[in-house]
């Protein structure tokens, strides 16, 4: 695959802005949501779904498709916006986020939402499941890629490191993982709650191919994904330096944005700021 053109970068930027707006609106309607961790991962998700992933909206369960496990399942609403935009389900579904009977729950559910590849929510679990998916699809000889996104706070979980050890042991070159490294977890900055210390060294020492990039720069993330795809003998970790609630002015860079209350008026105001500042 060729490097990103400037034209494609502009397209992706416009798309990511749209996705952010849709996500802010869907949460604004119910008045609360995990806006911080959803906004910080929008750019990586946009790049994956609109450029890299081999998927077919008309055949969403195609066995040899690329798959994505959003192990930080609370960022589901960002992914729902993308899936709606791609046509996996009607856009009106976004208005039902977290309402009783909704097909779009706060945390990803593969049995409720078309396009969701794995049920996640209890942190750490999705990452192990992506190891299983990568193993299973390799056994089937699909030649596809399994993408997995974990949170930095999620990395407090011991299961992340069990899965990390096993993916390296099984030489899962078909697994490309991302850490949404926004440096914050629910109760505060990571260094206050549970310091991850030297995150790059940790992943290197677990035997992964590790890259660290600006998680809001399409060119940088894209280059890292291309490098990771070329690495076929071990799993890849791309550490994304991100800003929590990126693009949502009332919460951007704030710990409080993890699960934040905001009404529809605040959502509209935030969207106006987004339009102006990210023009």
């Amino acid at each position: 695959m060729k490097r990103l053109t400037d034209e494609k970068v502009s397209e992706l930027k416009i798309k990511a802005k749209e996705i952010r707006k849709m996500t802010i609106m869907s949460m604004g309607k119910i008045g609360v949501g995990h806006i911080g961790g959803a906004m910080s991962i929008v750019d990586a998700l946009t790049l994956l779904y609109y450029r890299h992933m081999n998927i077919d909206v008309d055949d969403p369960k195609k066995p040899d498709r690329d798959k994505l496990v959003l192990s930080k399942g609370h960022a589901g609403p960002a992914l729902y916006s993308i899936l709606a935009d791609l046509g996996y389900f009607p856009g009106q579904w976004l208005d039902t986020l977290n309402l009783g009977g909704s097909r779009l729950p706060s945390h990803c559910d593969m049995n409720l939402t078309p396009g969701i590849d794995m049920t996640t929510g209890s942190l750490g679990q999705g990452f192990s499941c992506s190891v299983g998916l990568a193993l299973g699809d390799r056994m089937s000889g699909y030649g596809n890629t399994i993408y997995s996104i974990i949170g930095d706070g999620e990395s407090n979980e011991g299961q992340i490191w069990e899965a990390a050890m096993s993916a390296a042991q099984f030489k899962l070159g078909n697994l490309i993982a991302f850490t949404d490294y926004n440096k914050m977890e629910l109760d505060g900055y990571m260094y206050e709650v549970m310091d991850i210390s030297d995150i790059t060294s940790k992943w290197l020492s677990f035997g992964w191919y590790v890259q660290r990039v600006d998680g809001h720069n399409f060119n940088d993330i894209d280059r890292a994904i291309l490098n990771a795809k070329a690495e076929t003998s071990r799993p890849s970790m791309i550490i994304l330096d991100t800003v929590k609630a990126k693009g949502f002015a009332p919460g951007e860079g704030k710990v409080e944005s993890h699960n934040m209350k905001f009404d529809i008026t605040a959502a509209e105001q935030a969207i106006a700021v987004l339009d102006k500042e990210y023009a």
Binding site: V69, S128, C129, G132, L133, G136, Q159
Partner: protein, 317 residues
């Protein structure tokens, strides 16, 4: 006599030869759980996850999403307690087909002692919606029940005795997952048992009761969830007294499942034989049987108590 783990490994190999989707996951206990022959037969379909049960269940769930049929095997204490959240969510809530095998349930953990002795695994597992929980009492029933669990949509939890136990059934006997098996008919009291320890003990108790002039039916309730309410009610009506026998806590295990059916459908006097709200401890199986009262003698005593209570109840009518 053949050990049950050997029968399990043989059966899994046989099933895997026919069904390419079957994969085996272990957590560094292969040499204990006896599945090494499977690895020799299918190295590429054997995944040793190391000492990491939570990750093993997550990987098994991912394999299920990828269209495989995973069997994940470890000691029952780790299967139930350590990886419960993973089994609950990644496997069951996500509606996957993960067959979890917990070996050495209850006092069968024996020399591994209290830390490894699960008296609560059935209780934990019964709380998972839609899960099948079963415990074969011998090799014949094991071979019949596992393929049914494999082919059923949804996950399962099986309690497995690694060692050999008395043969209860002759080859060729039929079993249906979810249906209790009447082994011995009777008219005065019904003994409902599960597993390799308690089914033989119940049969031995029934023989002892016969000498006392009490006719005891024995039901092998190999599937604890979904529990076979039909046979429970039928034998409650027929015998008017039920004793449950389990190598597990009396809280939330087989006894509780039977009591729930009786209380809501056909209440008759019942008593439970099992571990009475205690932790495990080290010792050989014979010692532990006596220590926790998991014996034919205890079953017989409780059956006689019930029989007399039943007679009194009839007398007051």
């Amino acid at each position: 006599m053949k050990e049950m783990r050997a029968a399990f490994a043989e059966l899994l190999i046989e099933l895997a030869e026919k069904d390419k989707r079957i994969v085996l996951l272990e957590a560094d206990l292969m040499r204990a759980t006896g599945t090494t022959p499977f690895k020799e037969a299918f190295p590429e379909r054997t995944i040793n996850c190391g000492v990491a049960e939570a990750n093993m269940i997550g990987i098994a769930s991912g394999l299920s999403v990828a269209g495989k049929i995973p069997f994940a095997s470890t000691f029952a204490c780790f299967a139930a307690r350590r990886a419960y959240d993973q089994f609950f969510l990644s496997a069951n809530y996500a509606q996957q087909n993960v067959n979890l095998v917990g070996s050495d349930p209850g006092i069968l953990a024996a020399l591994n002692g209290g830390t490894h002795m699960p008296f609560e695994d059935v209780g934990l597992m019964r709380n998972i919606p839609g899960l099948v929980v079963f415990e074969p009492c011998d090799i014949v029933s094991l071979k019949e029940l596992i393929p049914q669990a494999k082919d059923r949509k949804g996950s399962s939890y099986m309690r497995l005795n690694r060692k050999s136990g008395p043969a209860v059934y002759a080859e060729g006997e039929n079993f249906e997952l979810g249906k209790g098996k009447l082994i011995r008919d009777g008219s005065d009291v019904t003994l409902i048992a599960s597993g390799t320890i308690m089914v033989p003990e119940a049969l031995s108790a029934a023989a002892g009761l016969e000498k006392e002039g009490i006719s005891a039916a024995v039901i092998d309730m190999h599937t604890i969830k979904p529990i076979d309410g039909e046979i429970i009610v039928k034998y409650a009506e027929k015998t008017g007294a039920i004793v449950t026998c389990e190598n597990h806590q009396v809280i939330n295990g087989l006894g509780s499942a039977v009591a729930e059916v009786l209380a809501e459908n056909f209440p008759v006097p019942m008593l439970r034989v099992g571990v009475e709200d205690r932790f495990g401890q080290v010792g050989d199986v014979d010692y532990l049987k006596k220590e926790y009262g998991l014996t034919a003698e205890k079953i017989k005593d409780k059956a006689i108590t019930l029989f007399r209570r039943k007679e009194c109840l009839i007398g007051t009518r």
